[in-house]
Symmetry: D2
């Protein structure tokens, strides 16, 4: 019953086998191996467009390097204040982008919409020369609260952003989970809606380390090979990343993994609600944010379930949390088993575990 994060599991069997298979023999080094080339080609098919892909070691690197390609140092990166780039990367975007400023948008469930962007610009002035100039808008798909952008939401937000001269970045650490949560194509959720650069995360959904920066506008990628090398993110034995991504994308493997994770989250959420919990945000991808009695949390923990309390600072005003309650985050992944979920629900409901 490990719901602490979707990065506590290893790789899927298919991805692991690909690492083993790719290990044999000689391969070109420094990112020009065939595995990586095939992964890029597969992404072009999946996203139905030409694109440039660069593998990197972590999601933080993907985000920070991507942003650095989209803004001058005197720009400003707009995102929700809870976004991973703003809050959980120890200032990596500021470092890679030469001291850029991060500014916070509002938005229910850490999901800024066009109206939130308008409100932001109503409330802020950006005088030339004396103040930094907004240059990029970054959205998280899914958001830190587990919500999912639909294509029309992204398109409206991107249109408003581009009218202000902003470029669009998407942190897709959970892109697969967001994708399978709806009837929408990868293209519709990204470049067709106005996304310029995507941090394509595969680690949480079945790789050991599979992160890529995808440029839909290849002109923006002109210097990116230099940025990556200079950041120490160009693997000498690049097959390690290339093989994982190739296997991850083959035969819709990635979609199957994400569907499983999302289904487990839904099942877990339904069970917790049935057992008396309340959901702070809708469960749209693979994260569940329930308010539970403290006794329930204690029972779960005593039974070995792992999960984190969630800081109450981020709770919407509508979600009152009682003195005997707490809000927690529970994350499912491709590796979460129905049995784990069933046991957690039984314990929450104070019933015999299966």
């Amino acid at each position: 019953m490990n719901f602490a994060s979707d990065n506590v599991a290893g790789a899927s069997a298919q991805v692991l086998e690909a690492i083993v298979a790719a290990n044999a023999g000689a391969a070109k080094s420094y990112g020009v191996d065939d595995f990586t080339a095939r992964a890029e080609q597969r992404l072009q098919e999946i996203f139905e467009t030409d694109l440039a892909m660069f593998t990197v070691a972590t999601g933080t690197a993907a985000n920070a390097l991507a942003l650095s390609a989209l803004t001058p140092p005197w720009g400003a990166v707009l995102s929700h204040g809870m976004a991973h780039i703003a809050n959980d990367e120890c200032g990596a975007p500021e470092f890679f982008a030469g001291g850029v400023k991060m500014l916070a948008l509002g938005g229910h469930g850490a999901k800024p919409l066009a109206a939130d962007l308008a409100a932001f610009f109503d409330a802020h002035q950006f005088r030339p020369v004396h103040q930094v100039q907004p240059s990029v808008l970054s959205v998280s798909q899914a958001t830190e609260c587990g919500l999912v952008y639909r294509p029309d939401e992204i398109a409206a937000l991107a249109a408003a952003a581009k009218a202000r001269g902003l470029r669009m970045h998407m942190d897709g650490a959970r892109f697969a989970n967001a994708l399978v949560a709806q009837e929408a194509s990868p293209a519709a959720l990204t470049w067709r809606a106005g996304i310029d650069v995507l941090s394509f995360g595969a680690t949480k959904n079945g790789c050991l380390a599979g992160e890529a920066v995808i440029f839909f506008d290849k002109a923006l990628a002109a210097d990116f090979a230099y940025r990556r090398k200079r950041a120490g993110q160009l693997l000498s034995k690049g097959r390690l990343f290339g093989a994982q991504l190739e296997a991850y994308l083959r035969d819709d493997h990635w979609l199957g993994l994400a569907r499983h994770a999302n289904a487990m989250a839904k099942r877990l959420a339904d069970g917790l609600v049935a057992a008396g919990g309340r959901l702070v945000w809708a469960v749209e991808a693979n994260e569940v944010f329930p308010i539970l009695p403290r006794q329930t949390c204690d029972r779960l923990a005593a039974a070995g379930a792992t999960f984190y309390p969630r800081s109450t600072e981020v709770v919407p005003a509508s979600a009152t949390i009682g003195r005997d309650e707490m809000m927690v985050r529970m994350v499912t992944s491709f590796a979460t088993t129905p049995d784990e979920v069933a046991r957690a629900i039984a314990i929450a409901g104070n019933k015999p575990t299966p």
Copy 2:
């Protein structure tokens, strides 16, 4: 009737004469001239302590370089969100401090107190490694709203900050105005209250370019000469800055200039209130923030008065601004004449100008 800023005037006569006098003959270059040495010595007397002073060309440079000496790049600089460092320096602190993050405190009148700092830490988590770690608290004396810190307020704030491991910086762009606004010594307002580094501004109050970074803890200044040189802030003919500061500090000249500016602000404020205006914040130093009928503003402008409308984003909730009103900022300086003030008041009151 130029109330646009306290940087639209030149230097005071005494300061200007010092530039002329210092121009003659040879002087050592690169900051080791006698003028600069005497200015530093005078500051040691004024602040009643040993200290290290470094002249720089602008207040932005003073602030950004000072902060860079107080924080690692993965630190965070806390200040009010309206502070000059946060809002009006085009990201200079982020640049000089290697991509440091700026975080915003609340506080009435852009003046965070100990309770505001406590509220900030109640609302934010700073997990090791994954998040930046608060490292510096910067206060503005006077604040962007023209308010003044008293020694006990700084001491309480600094004590709370230091309990959290923060260092204390003071942006003293209007330090003289804040000083003469109260019965307090320079020492009481700075190092005795816990300030580690002061941006000592003299440009607004009577110099053409007179800014200095003052380290009360000289250990913090160990590398500062390198920071300044590397930033292109070490003047070859350093007498230009040194002579101004020496003259500025001689015979309490700086205090007289500030007293005049503050008195003009007070007189202007009283007159505008008598003429029907309302003050958004108390006038404690040399800035006046009145809410005026638009007609009044138009009359003043038509008569040649210069001042800026103030963004309503920063108005406290208590200060409702009518549809026919606007909030403006009017700044007085050592060069503001009683006549200018009298004329502005007369025009505001719709009376014959003197």
Copy 3:
């Protein structure tokens, strides 16, 4: 016959099996997994001292982050001009260390000795404030020319460097090859000789991605966790790196791999010399730099051997290269087979291949 680099092979069987084995089940994320902990512990045993180890994705990251922990931005990093940090990392050290300056030492075979350091300081002035101040000396073990430092050479160099206030960094991309090339302990080659920080490379010698920064003086590592996270080098599924390093170090596996690579290099070198080639530098580790007739190179290439011509700029004056000759670099690795070597020698000697 792939002699292009020691990064064209995958991982050794033992290392690959460790990845597979480590993949199962849940593990703590972000570098605090048991695999990484055990690898660090093993290093403490191997180096016979307490130490702090941080895994990163690439050798460039290891070097650049290590250097950033050893120098202020106004310092200077000294190394041979051919060193990887100076010449092959696209300015990563400059980036990570806030714009530090790299200065070039001389030294036969890219191996600066104490006399080279003395010559450097005889020829350069470093005036305070106006010039950067040398802060770190970095040595490569083995060097870019395949030479190996002995403990007494490092100790003499480090003593001279420390007398000048420099810290010592070792780029150990081929540390294992340098170690097994002589009768010396890991401790004798590093901290006992004065090395403060080691970039411990395992990728070239048997991992897919196995690089670590090792601090022998743990005080220097105080902030390193922040540097690594901020650089996007902290893997969420850290077991990937930890498991490789653990397997690499187990049962002297790494030493066996390196001995094989070195033996293959020696055999290749001897064979090429017998076939009429001349060695530019002694073959001490796993790199061979022969001057060969162009016809020989052509025959080797035609037979499928891969290797790179070496820029003649780096050839010592003593090694005259004829018009019909060229200098090449041939690298062996743990994966190089005796058969490959035998074939290359036969082709070079214009004899039937085995």
Copy 4:
């Protein structure tokens, strides 16, 4: 007899008077004052072209900011190894240009010519991605050895540089001295010869602080206002710099000052040679580098003359320096008097001083 530097004097009378005159009344702040506008206009006339001028506080700032506008961080700035940007600015270019690498060209008298650039590229490889890519060539006018570029020399060098994709920067700390040393127009020495950006220095030749970055290609200046502000180089009371530059350029004042300085240098050089000294480099501008008997140096110093010994590292091989000799640098300026020169010559010749 102060020959230590051309920055030990104050401002010329005309420049000083301009500061005094400009001090009166209100002026627009932050660089949009009329003084600055007129100085820019005058430069457009002098250089016979449209251009964008930005005042800054120091030559180091001018150089480093200019370079930062011409190169990405993974570029490389080429200059002579003795150039001020490479050797005397404490790494400011590296800092402002995001960690750019500085690479050293050869060249007699610190004056690289087209052949030196060709030799540099013959000796260095710049492999894509793995190595930084040369982006800017910076020349000093006059050079650190007091030599002067002629228009055809710059044009040939710039043509070779541009064929390699480099941009051209000129450090004109002594531009006036170099200009009046020959029959050439400001345009011929700069943009007509291929210079893109000029650091126009006026401080050494008659201002207290008068430095400007001049963009002949205004497209390159698009973001420069942000760079300057963010660097803390945008003076609030910009008239201080603007007025000096305006006066400096009025009625060919700057040319007269430079002619005087150069004439004094020539006279000093001739006298020292007559007294037995030997010149290391031709005296083309306002710097004299004689080899003198140590006794002569001692007599001069005893008489109060100031000058610096010059590191022998920079002496060309042709200039042997005897055991009883030393090489010194003597700099003249607009403020050097014929009397000073005459006395120095007399003392050097061991004759009665006038």
